[in-house]
């Protein structure tokens, strides 16, 4: 039991990273930390794929003249190259949004931001209400 669980310790690492990442995304109020969590979450998936591709004793999948060579599966690696590019784009866009939010709101704490938004929203509804009441009179 123990040996079989330890035998797949890669998956335990993946699982741990995934949970850490997801917890940061959900639990942190700081927008920057959320992006960090997102990156960890995505990285755990990269590890998951690469673990699938690995075959014990397998070499790099390069064609040689020896028969019966065991290769690691190259496809997951290629997929992950694509996923890394997507992850970089997501992180870059996220960070640039955090920068813009910081310059507009003066904060990157979720509570501050939602408080400011709430005030704005309230103002929007209330100011317009006064106008329409005036017209009714």
């Amino acid at each position: 039991m123990i040996s079989s669980s330890l035998g797949v310790w890669n998956y335990w690492v993946v699982f741990l990273l995934m949970m850490i990442g997801l917890f940061l995304v959900i639990g942190r109020k700081n927008l920057l930390k959320k992006i960090v969590g997102l990156t960890i979450f995505q990285t755990s998936v990269f590890l998951l794929y690469i673990t699938f591709g690995k075959i014990q004793g397998g070499t790099a999948p390069i064609l040689n003249n020896i028969n019966n060579t065991i290769y690691s599966n190259p496809l997951p690696h290629v997929l992950i190259l694509t996923a890394i590019v997507v992850g970089v784009a997501t992180t870059a866009l996220g960070l640039s949004l955090v920068l813009r939010i910081n310059s507009e709101y003066g904060s990157i704490e979720e509570d501050d931001i939602s408080a400011q938004d709430l005030v704005d929203y309230h103002d929007l509804i209330e100011t317009n209400k006064n106008v329409s009441v005036k017209f009714k009179k």
Partner: protein, 497 residues
């Protein structure tokens, strides 16, 4: 020449907006970039109509990308199912591009307009690619192309209202989590079956029974797509993203973005996995069905209490997505067809409603809330009439497109022994009249500001008139939509059993 075009149509509908988006970003003249965008979306629409014709000649077109034969190479599949969302996306994007010509410069700095159009085309390319591809990982790439482009588009709303930035941020984070969950699911399925081709995947899944990794993979995939499709309760990114995006972007996203994901949801549920499998039956019955019913009511009730009109329409979108997933969840051929009918009709209805509201906010140059709607209907009669017709369509009044889709959903649910589901649909429709009437009452019956001299702009109301006309046309003669949807569900579910 025409032969080559016909042969390569499946890739042309994707590559045409994708490549043009790279060209548009280099163009320094705003008007020229709009013209190029318009012609690109028009050509894409023509291509998708040709594709429609081709699909009905051959039932299904498989296109091997780069001549690498599937299942090893990436395959693009166009069949009677995927053509429905392709037509929706290309049609709506064309009409919305016309609409955007006047609206876009009013909200976005003139220096960034060509960049916005570049993102606009990129988002369209991503959405069409999402639908055409027959490869699970390629699907993820297109999912991210479309969602990153739409996040950037939503963030452009930050130039006018800073809340657009927060909306874009939430959309990005939730969208990325959703896409990553989908990738985990694909990874698990790949680990079991060793294939990424969706058709091949469904064959190999059928041979496996009772595998825990399979169930986990299915769960991850479905949840990931449900985040993207904004199925209740994974919808929280949607109201803000639609409400604070630039006007034209709200129209485009509201009408197309979730539709593509809903199609993927149907594809995974019915085509990749087997509808007669207990796993799928249980998912439909105990997860998607209750969530859809909750969505129908939660969305409608949130809309009733909402004061900001763009948010109100976004909440009502959640309820409408609930109808579509409900139709899928019933899981008979008739109900899935009804889902596709509503997919098409809701794109028309919500596109038109968002267009009407955003053109009102364009004329008075203010955010539209329930209070400053007062009397605007009399100032802009054309916009108002279109708004009323599309509201009736949303509520499901006869002679409009919305009636047809509600009729088919209710018919399908009654024939599947779900009278109570039909009752719930009717109740939710009745509730939706509350918020629609609230807006119409304010628009027409309330005393408005006197000194407004509004001249309606033809470039703004012509697209609105086109889409409203389509709403009425498909209400009077729905045979085209109904037949295509029934053919689609026949192909989606018919391969089984």
């Amino acid at each position: 020449m025409t032969d080559i075009i016909i042969k390569n149509l499946p890739i042309l509908v994707v590559i045409c907006p994708l490549m043009m988006s790279l060209i548009v970003v280099l163009i320094p003249y705003n008007f020229l970039s709009w013209v190029i965008t318009l012609s690109t979306t028009f050509i894409t629409f023509i291509f998708s109509l040709l594709l429609y014709q081709e699909v009905y000649l051959h039932t299904s077109i498989s296109y091997a990308l780069g001549n690498w034969a599937p299942p090893l190479g990436i395959e693009y599949v166009i069949d009677k199912v995927s053509i429905v969302p392709i037509i929706i996306i290309s049609l709506i994007s064309f009409i919305t591009t016309i609409f955007s010509s006047k609206i876009m410069p009013a909200e976005i700095n003139s220096s960034s307009i060509s960049k916005v159009y570049s993102l606009w085309l990129l988002a369209i390319a991503g959405l069409i690619g999402l639908v055409t591809t027959g490869d699970a990982f390629n699907l993820f790439v297109f999912l991210e192309i479309s969602s990153l482009a739409s996040v950037a588009l939503v963030a452009m709303g930050g130039q006018k209202d800073k809340q657009g930035l927060v909306a874009a941020y939430n959309y990005l984070v939730l969208g990325a989590v959703g896409a990553t969950l989908y990738v985990i699911g694909v990874g698990l399925l790949y680990g079991i079956t060793g294939t990424l081709n969706l058709a091949d995947l469904s064959k190999r899944i059928a041979e496996i029974n009772d595998n825990k990794a399979l169930i986990a993979g299915f769960g991850f995939m479905i949840i990931g797509i449900m985040v993207k499709a904004a199925v209740f309760p994974l919808h929280i990114w949607l109201p803000r993203a639609y409400a604070y995006a630039p006007s034209a972007v709200s129209v485009l996203l509201a009408a197309t973005a979730t539709k593509a994901s809903l199609y993927i949801l149907a594809r995974i549920l019915f085509s990749v996995f087997d509808i007669s499998d207990t796993l799928i039956i249980n998912t439909l019955q105990y997860v998607i069905l209750p969530l859809s019913i909750l969505a129908m009511f939660a969305g409608t009730i949130m809309a009733i209490f909402e004061k900001d009109i763009k948010r109100l329409l976004a909440h009502s979108s959640i309820a409408q997505i609930g109808y579509i997933t409900l139709a899928f969840a019933i899981g008979t051929k008739a109900s899935v067809a009804a889902g596709f009918i509503h997919l098409f009709n809701h794109a028309l209805i919500k596109g038109a409603l968002f267009m009407a509201i955003t053109s009102m906010s364009f004329y008075i140059n203010k955010r539209i809330t329930i209070n400053n709607l007062s009397g605007l209907g009399r100032e802009m009669p054309i916009t108002f009439v279109c708004f009323v017709i599309c509201s009736l369509s949303l509520a499901g009044i006869p002679l409009t497109a919305g009636f047809i889709s509600k009729l088919y959903i209710i018919k399908a649910s009654i024939s599947a022994d779900g009278i109570w589901i039909a009752m719930l649909i009717l109740a939710s429709s009745a509730l939706s009249v509350v918020y629609l009437w609230k807006m119409i009452e304010a628009l027409w019956f309330h005393e408005g500001p006197k000194n407004l001299l509004i001249k309606e702009n033809s470039l703004v109301y012509i697209p609105l008139l086109i889409i409203t006309f389509l709403n009425i046309y498909f209400g009077l003669d729905a045979s085209l939509v109904v037949n295509s949807s029934f053919e689609a569900s026949e192909q989606l579910l018919g391969a089984r059993k």
